[in-house]
C-alpha cells in the first residue's frame, strides 16, 4: 500500500520530540512534561494527546486496540482506530490480549496487562489541582515544593457535603510518594489497577502535557485516615455475562424504569460470554450474532 502520510501521520521530528517528553515522563513518574502539541485532524477533546503519544510509539509490526469508556465500538474508538489503520497501516484488534498498544479513554481494561504492552490514556485536564488553584505558575510551584494540602481540601469538601468522598472519577493519586497525579477520568474503581505490569502513558493535547507511569510504580489514592479510599462500582452483576467483578454501565431500557447493567469493557464481556457465562438478561453467545 502506498502511504499518503508519513508513518502514523506525525513527521519524524515531531515524534522524536514527543518520545523525548515520554522518556522524561518515565524518568520522573507523575511529573507533567510540557511538549509542543501539534494540531491533529480531530477536535481537542477527542483524544489528540493520546493520539500523538500513540503515533510516536507505534511500530509497523504493532497491533493496536482503541477503547472509549471500555467499549471498542463507540464513535471515538472507531474513528481513532480507523485513523491509525489509514495513516500507519497497523493491524488492529478488539482483543486486549492481542494488542501491543492500547489507547484508552476513561477506562483500564478488566484483563491484566502484560509487561510487553503499553496503555495510552487520553487526558482532558492533566492538572489535578486545576479546579482548586487556577494559576499555572502557582500549581507548578506547588508540585515542585510538594505542597499538596489543597488536594485534601477537595476531599474534605466532599465529605462535609456528602458524608463520603464523592469524587468517583479522576480520583487523585500520589505516585511513588512524590507527585500528585490526575489519572485521567477513569472511575476510581480502576485506581488500584494503576499499579500494573504495562507501561502507562498519559497525553493531554490541548494542555500540552505528557506524563507517565513505569511498570510496577507505586500509586496510592489519596484519602483520610477515617475515610479510607474505596474503589466503588454499581452493586450488581453484568446482565449479559454475569460477572460481578467488572465495572458496569447502567443502560436505561425504556421509560418505565427498566434498566440493565452491562460490563463497560466490551471485550471482557464478549470473551466471558464466548466462554459460556450467561447473565440474568443474557442469551447464549453465538459467534457473529450481532
Amino acid at each position: 500500500m502506498t502511504q499518503d502520510y508519513n508513518f502514523a501521520y506525525l513527521d519524524e521530528q515531531t515524534k522524536r520530540m514527543i518520545r523525548r517528553a515520554i522518556l522524561k515522563g518515565l524518568a520522573v513518574p507523575g511529573y507533567q512534561v510540557p511538549f509542543a502539541s501539534r494540531e491533529m485532524p480531530m477536535p481537542y477533546g477527542w483524544g489528540t494527546g493520546g493520539v500523538q503519544v500513540s503515533a510516536s510509539i507505534l511500530t509497523p509490526e504493532d497491533t493496536m486496540k482503541v477503547i472509549d469508556q471500555g467499549a471498542d465500538d463507540t464513535t471515538n474508538a472507531v474513528s481513532i482506530r480507523k485513523f491509525f489503520e489509514k495513516t500507519a497501516g497497523v493491524a488492529t484488534s478488539e482483543e486486549t490480549s492481542k494488542a501491543d498498544v492500547i489507547q484508552t479513554r476513561h477506562r483500564i481494561p478488566e484483563q491484566d496487562l502484560r509487561e510487553d504492552q503499553i496503555l495510552v490514556y487520553q487526558v482532558p485536564i492533566p492538572e489535578p489541582l486545576r479546579f482548586l488553584e487556577p494559576r499555572e505558575t502557582e500549581t507548578r510551584k506547588m508540585h515542585a515544593l510538594e505542597e499538596y494540602g489543597l488536594m485534601h481540601v477537595k476531599l474534605y469538601e466532599d465529605i462535609s457535603k456528602n458524608g463520603a468522598i464523592s469524587t468517583s472519577y479522576a480520583y487523585p493519586v500520589k505516585v511513588e510518594g512524590r507527585y500528585v497525579m490526575d489519572p485521567s477520568p477513569i472511575p476510581k474503581f480502576d485506581n488500584p489497577k494503576l499499579e500494573m505490569a504495562a507501561v502507562q502513558l498519559f497525553g493531554a493535547g490541548r494542555e500540552q502535557r505528557i506524563y507517565a507511569l513505569p511498570p510496577y510504580t507505586r500509586v496510592v489514592s489519596l484519602d483520610f485516615e477515617d475515610y479510607p479510599f474505596e474503589p466503588s462500582k454499581a452493586d450488581h452483576a453484568c446482565d449479559l455475562c454475569g460477572s460481578d467483578t467488572s465495572y458496569l454501565d447502567e443502560v436505561i431500557m425504556d421509560d418505565a424504569g427498566g434498566r440493565m447493567f452491562v460490563c463497560s469493557d466490551t471485550d471482557f464481556c464478549r470473551s466471558r460470554r464466548a466462554a459460556g457465562h450467561v447473565g440474568a438478561q443474557g442469551v447464549p453467545f453465538e459467534e457473529d450474532a450481532a
Binding site: 494540602g149 489543597l150 481540601v153 474534605y156 483520610f224 485516615e225 477515617d226
Partner: protein
C-alpha cells in the same frame, strides 16, 4: 530576652522611587507592634517585604526559628520560607477575599493549613475547625457554608481563624479592620486583642487607623515617605508626638 523577629536596614525601591528605606526594629515574643502612616507611606511595602511576599533590595529579616534559632528569611530557600508561611507565620489580608478560598466551605478554609502540614484525619480536622470557628464567634452550624454567604465581618473573623489554627508565633496584619463598619470593627478588635493575649502571639499590624493601634499595639512605628520617622511605646507616641508628621497625624483624628 532574645527578639523573635529582627529587621535590619530593610530597603525596597521601585525604580527610583522609594518603597521603604533603612527600616530597623526588633520584635519580642508576645509583643504587638503597630505601623501607621498615610497612604503611600510604604507601610504595605514594608509588611510584604517582612512576610516574604516581596523581595527587598537591601537588609535582613531575621526570625527565631524553632529548629535553627535566628535565620535570615530572605536568604532562606523558597520551600523553607513557604513552610514558615504556613506554620509559624500568619498573614491576615485587608480584604478577606484575598486570604480565603471563596469556593471552599468555612471548615475547609480553616482546615487547609492543618492539611498543608500533614493532618489526614477528617474527624480531627473538622473538630479543630469547629473549635476555631467558635473562638472567632462563628456558629458551628455555619461550618459547611461558603465564605461568600458570610458578612464582611464574619469573613474577616474566618480569615483570622484560618490563620491562627496552626498556632503561629508571628502574625502579619494588613489593615485587618479596613472596610468594616465601626461596631463590627470594635468587635473584631476585641476578639483580636483576646486572641493575641491568650495565645501570646507577636503581631505586626499595619493600619492607618490610630484607634486600632491604641487598642492593640504595645509599640508604634510611624512611617512617612518610606522612612520610619518615629518609634516608641504606643501611648507615648500618641500622647506626646515628637516628630512633626506624627503631630499632624495625631491631630488629624476626628473627635466625635
Amino acid at each position: 530576652m532574645t527578639p523573635l523577629f529582627q529587621v535590619k536596614d530593610l530597603s525596597k525601591f521601585y525604580g527610583n522611587r522609594i518603597g521603604c528605606k533603612d527600616v530597623s526594629f526588633d520584635l519580642y515574643p508576645g509583643e504587638v507592634m503597630g505601623i501607621v502612616g498615610e497612604s503611600g507611606s510604604g507601610k504595605s511595602t514594608l509588611l510584604n517585604c517582612l512576610a516574604g511576599h516581596l523581595p527587598p533590595d537591601r537588609g535582613e529579616v531575621l526570625f527565631d526559628t524553632r529548629t535553627d534559632g535566628m535565620r535570615d528569611t530572605i536568604q532562606m530557600s523558597e520551600p523553607e520560607r513557604r513552610m514558615l508561611g504556613r506554620t509559624d507565620w500568619a498573614f491576615v489580608h485587608q480584604h478577606a477575599r484575598d486570604g480565603l478560598r471563596m469556593g471552599v466551605s468555612a471548615g475547609g478554609n480553616v482546615g487547609e493549613r492543618l492539611m498543608a502540614v500533614g493532618a489526614r484525619h477528617y474527624g480531627d480536622i473538622r473538630e479543630q475547625a469547629i473549635d476555631w470557628l467558635g473562638r472567632v464567634e462563628i456558629n458551628a452550624d455555619r461550618v459547611d457554608d461558603r465564605p461568600s454567604a458570610f458578612s464582611g465581618g464574619m469573613q474577616q473573623r474566618l480569615q483570622i481563624a484560618r490563620n491562627l489554627v496552626t498556632g503561629p508565633r508571628l502574625v502579619f496584619m494588613d489593615e485587618p479592620t479596613g472596610g468594616l463598619d465601626v461596631s463590627v470593627q470594635a468587635r473584631l478588635l476585641d476578639l483580636l486583642r483576646g486572641l493575641v493575649r491568650e495565645m501570646g502571639l507577636s503581631a505586626i499590624i499595619v493600619t492607618h487607623d490610630l484607634a486600632v493601634v491604641r487598642l492593640l499595639a504595645d509599640r508604634l512605628m510611624v512611617m512617612k515617605d518610606g522612612h520610619a520617622v518615629e518609634t516608641g511605646l504606643t501611648d507615648q507616641v500618641l500622647d506626646d508626638p515628637q516628630h512633626g508628621y506624627t503631630q499632624l497625624l495625631v491631630s488629624s483624628v476626628l473627635q466625635v
